[in-house]
């Protein structure tokens, strides 16, 4: 019996499967040990690698609110379970001491951040959006022939990003920006 890498990963991922390879090496204890050490009792969820656009599907293992391991999903037809160095480091996007977990505010002219409650931040940001729109909204302007036309446009706010957020998030942002009147509306596809 020959065993592809994909099969091997599959078997090692399911405890108790008897696996024997060619020359009689029994991988069962290895598989069992790996399972015990790493992913026993962990929940597994499908992930998509957040780096380049190959779209490697990942298996994200978690215990409680902690991700304990991320690896390639061996069934993925276009990747066959492989990950590159970036994909293999995905876990550090979540488990990283440098990661900011509080909202931060920097006042005009200040040289430092201040931690602020999220609700305060949202209220203040909404105020900035509202005030800027109220002050600078262009409801009508003259077209090239000098005729006044409805344009409902807001030139004073720009929105950039992102090729790093989900489709659903992109749609919500498109809907928010466009219904609000924003036309400076771009993301990384332009650069």
């Amino acid at each position: 019996m020959s065993l592809s890498r994909r099969d091997f990963i599959k078997y090692t991922g399911s405890a108790g499967t008897a696996v024997a390879v060619g020359a009689g090496i029994d991988l069962k204890p290895v598989a069992a040990a790996a399972t015990t050490l790493r992913i026993k009792e962990a929940k597994v969820h499908p992930g998509v690698c957040p780096y380049c656009a190959v779209g490697c599907i990942q298996l994200v293992y978690s215990k409680g609110d902690k991700i304990i391991d991320i690896e390639g999903h061996p069934d993925t037809p276009h990747t066959l379970g492989r990950l590159c160095p970036k994909g293999a480091a995905t876990i550090q996007l979540s488990n990283n001491p440098q990661r900011p977990v509080k909202a931060l505010y920097r006042a005009a002219g200040s040289d430092k951040w201040e931690e602020k409650p999220l609700a305060w931040m949202y209220d203040e940001i909404a105020k900035r959006y509202y005030e800027t729109r109220e002050k600078h909204f262009i409801e009508k302007e003259k077209d090239k022939d000098g005729k006044e036309v409805v344009v409902n446009r807001l030139d004073a706010i720009a929105s950039l990003g992102s090729a790093c957020i989900d489709n659903e998030e992109c749609y919500i942002l498109s809907k928010l920006n466009r219904t609000f009147g924003i036309v400076y509306h771009e993301h990384q596809a332009r650069v």
Binding site: L104, A156, E168
Partner: protein, 832 residues
């Protein structure tokens, strides 16, 4: 991408023009698989990389000369009769006759017929001259159809014009312009062209190596033209492989976080052209091809945006949409120029880091200092969030308020991402984000709802559209149910829809199975028509999320149609009608993909005949090859054929022009640069350019990426596992240049342009060699652009100067992408 990564294994020859192995390592395995089958692999790149190391031929070419190279290949295929004649004659516009007054750049000194001075624009050639397209059109017969000559011999056929246009692109010219020795070019041309035809197919891959130029769009067109000339589109092992660089840059393009369009590639209305919905739909809907359905997609989008408030009587809310004042406005580079000028007061940078990642990054940071407020949402604190801490910045003088919101990576939320092959794939929330970290969706919805509360009660017309938009998906007031957002994107029936016999096709609220069921009367809503079918209703009434489908490939389905959902309609290879001949038979058994089965059960019980095979057919599966348009594969084009002649702002055929900054005059014509290039006039000398052949800036510079880092570095420089893999920011320079300048490997050097300078480590290497351009030695250096002033504590190499401080604010005239793959610099030993 017209094809699918998996299908690269079926190629007989692959030409990579980017560093595929290092920038898309996991996708590259399909090139290796093709090689195991005996395929030949060509790598065209100024640098020798890991991609070159497994290539049969590495072809170094001077950055910025890709059109000269591809034009040379087109000329070679035509001159040596190596093109796929039946495919070219029937599936492209080669046989169409063009207005006799049109002249190619061969007869126009590098210009096409129609360049006109506008009398405005000052130093901006983009405004000072534009092309009038009066002669860039087909000759029409009495019924309004294009005249054709299927012998391709009429001098006004597209084919003869193509031949005439590229007749100057000889192997000798390619050698002079690109620096590729003539013999090597002929070897590559022979290898690529001879491996295409009925029995063989070739694939070309590209990335930002071709797009980031002032003729970026024409670069891509030139390789697409080579592919249709050789019959390589819509067939197994053929295609154009666009290797995109971000996890969801495809999806963010489809859902249209871009100034010029609305979701699903619908043009964003222009003030002067589209005053009302009727005029808009008339002007933007082509007369032929699948886009004739645009009104259905447009009205469904307005219904998705504005809900019940969008009615026939108010043009479905069309007037509420903002109208662009000009087509030459609002792009990435326009944003930072206009921000610098004070037009933009507030700015949201969501998951994007323009302080490092965009062209002329120094200008971007200076522009942010003129804002009233800035909101940044990202996983880590970016250089954009801390532009006021940049080296040389004085925080006290910067009056911009900055709000930073921590963001959740994919593993901490539900949602879908669309990969480079149009494949929509779902990920699940594995854990809750820590602390005050939230998803981007949570932030957008919180902001929208707060703003709606502030506007509540307004009776002003200008606020009605925003108040009508619903930001509720599911019961949780904060976190939207992403599967319901996906359903809105997919489209659904607003009311019960019945067929002509009164049978219910869709009940109220049901997800649509196909964009073919969208209507322009307000009965359907859909946020992005090309995604329709990604989520459908199962027999039990529950949503089936096909983005979360996980059926692996098998022997019967190598393209894995049960894994995720590829737009449109789960089709894996676009234009696949072209895989069969006029009669619907595969061009060869070896290269079969879909074919017409005359015996298969037809659309009705008493009919026979259907397109069958290995992929979802690209059009109505029951459209017989001998029916009207049953032999036309390029369904998204108004004339249903592939376009050699394809008018863009800078011409109907790609023509080589030098980059804005170049070491040489244009050797092909007296027209130095793209005649309608966009160059911004930025105040305070923020966009100075080096003149052609400048002795102050004598070296070509190109920017690039590394396997272990990601783009502007936000998601790699702060991860110790990745950040520790590079000693420091560096520039690759050849041994020859190092010797001329007395530079040792590993020492600090200064790279400068008229915009700025960076201090980096010299990596003296054989991977770059000087080019001989028209008998003169030209040095080129390469600098990755992942570094910035933030990084991982304890890892000094994770911080470095910003490469994009060197690049300029100039752009392609069609899509306004910048020129960061070819410009000019100086290199000096030491930190100066």
């Amino acid at each position: 991408m017209t094809t699918n990564l998996i299908d690269i294994q079926n190629s007989d020859v692959i030409m990579a023009t980017s560093n595929f192995a290092e920038n898309h390592p996991v996708g590259f395995q399909w090139v290796m698989k093709a090689k195991e089958r005996g395929a030949k692999f060509i790598h065209v790149d100024p640098r020798f990389t890991r991609t070159s190391s497994v290539a049969d031929i590495h072809v170094p070419l001077r950055s910025g000369t890709n059109i000269a190279f591809f034009g040379g290949l087109i000329n070679y295929a035509i001159q040596n009769n190596l093109y796929f004649k039946d495919y070219v004659t029937h599936y492209t516009n080669a046989s169409f006759l063009i207005d006799p007054a049109f002249k190619t750049a061969t007869d126009g000194g590098g210009l096409f017929t129609g360049l006109e001075q506008t009398g405005k624009g000052g130093d901006d050639p983009h405004l000072a001259q534009i092309y009038k397209r009066d002669t860039w059109k087909y000759q029409l017969d009495g019924e309004g159809n294009p005249k054709r000559d299927l012998t391709l011999k009429d001098p006004h056929t597209v084919f003869q014009l193509l031949k005439r246009h590229y007749s100057r692109y000889t192997p000798e010219m390619v050698e002079r312009v690109c620096g590729i020795p003539k013999e090597k070019f002929v070897e590559v041309a022979k290898l690529y062209c001879e491996n295409s035809g009925p029995e063989k197919t070739g694939t070309i891959t590209y990335a930002l190596n071709l797009t980031q130029h002032t003729n970026g769009v024409q670069n891509i067109r030139s390789l697409c033209m080579l592919q249709i000339l050789l019959g390589n589109i819509g067939r197994p092992g053929g295609g154009v492989v666009a290797l995109r660089g971000h996890a969801n840059v495809q999806g963010a393009t489809d859902l249209e976080l871009l100034y010029h369009e609305l979701p699903g590639y619908l043009p964003m209305p222009l003030r002067d052209l589209h005053p009302d919905l009727k005029t808009y739909l008339e002007k933007v809907t082509p007369k032929g091809g699948f886009w004739v359905n645009l009104p259905k997609f447009g009205v469904s989008l307005l219904k998705a945006f504005y809900g019940d408030a969008a009615t026939k009587d108010n043009e479905f809310g069309y007037q509420w949409l903002p109208k662009r004042a000009s087509a030459d406005a609002y792009s990435h580079q326009h944003i930072f120029v206009d921000m610098y000028k004070g037009i933009i007061k507030g700015f949201l940078a969501d998951g994007q880091n323009p302080a490092v990642g965009g062209p002329n990054a120094k200008l971007a940071r200076a522009a942010m200092g003129k804002l009233e407020w800035l909101v940044v949402k990202d996983i880590f604190i970016t250089e954009t969030a801390e532009f006021w801490k940049a080296p040389g910045a004085n925080a006290k003088d910067i009056k911009t308020e900055v709000f930073f919101l921590p963001a959740a990576p994919a593993a901490e939320k539900d949602g879908s991402l669309t990969n480079t092959m149009r494949l929509i794939q779902w990920h699940e929330k594995a854990v809750n984000p820590p602390g005050d970290v939230t998803s981007d969706a949570e932030f957008f919805v919180s902001l929208a709802k707060r703003l709606q509360k502030m506007y509540a009660g307004s009776n002003k017309d200008r606020d009605k559209g925003f108040l009508a938009a619903s930001f509720d998906w599911g019961t949780d007031p904060k976190e939207p149910n992403m599967e319901l957002v996906l359903k809105e994107i997919n489209g659904f029936a607003i009311e019960e829809i019945t067929d002509k016999d009164g049978k219910v096709v869709y009940k109220k609220g049901q997800a649509l199975n196909s964009f073919a069921h969208m209507t322009d009367d307000g009965k359907t809503a859909g946020g992005c028509w090309i995604y329709t079918g990604v989520t459908v209703e199962g027999p039990d009434g529950k949503l089936i999320n096909k983005a979360n489908a996980r059926k692996p490939a098998d022997e019967k389905d190598y393209l894995a149609h049960g894994w995720g959902f590829a737009w449109p309609a789960n089709r894996r290879i676009l234009y696949n009608r072209a895989s069969a001949d006029l009669q619907g038979k595969p061009w060869s058994e070896k290269k079969k993909l879909i074919w017409w089965d005359p015996e298969a059960p037809g659309a009705k019980p008493d009919e026979k005949g259907k397109w069958v095979g290995l992929d979802v057919p690209d059009f109505n599966a029951f459209l017989a090859p001998d029916a009207k348009n049953g032999d036309k594969p390029f369904i998204m084009r108004a004339d249903l054929v592939g376009a050699f002649f394809g008018p863009l702002n800078d011409g109907p055929f790609p023509e080589h022009y030098e980059p804005i900054e170049s070491p040489t005059k244009n050797l092909l014509s007296k027209q130095q640069n793209n005649p309608v290039v966009k160059i911004w006039d930025v105040p305070d000398q923020q966009n100075l350019l080096a003149p052609t052949g400048s002795s102050e800036y004598p070296y070509v510079i190109t920017t690039y990426r590394l396997t272990e880092h990601h783009l502007s570095g936000v998601m790699s420089r702060q991860l110790p596992m990745l950040a520790e893999l590079f000693h420091s920011h560096f520039a690759e320079i050849s041994h020859e240049l190092a010797k001329e300048l007395g530079i040792e490997n590993g020492e600090k050097i200064t790279v400068s342009t008229p915009r700025g300078k960076v201090h980096v480590t010299a990596m003296v290497t054989h991977r770059l060699k000087p080019f001989m351009i028209d008998g003169k030695k030209v040095h080129q250096i390469g600098v990755p652009w992942h570094w910035g002033y933030n990084g991982t504590p304890g890892l000094p190499g994770s911080k470095g100067d910003i490469t994009n401080d060197l690049s300029a604010t100039v752009a392609d005239p069609t899509v306004y992408i910048q020129e960061t793959k070819a410009f000019m610099c100086n290199v000096k030993k030491g930190v100066v």
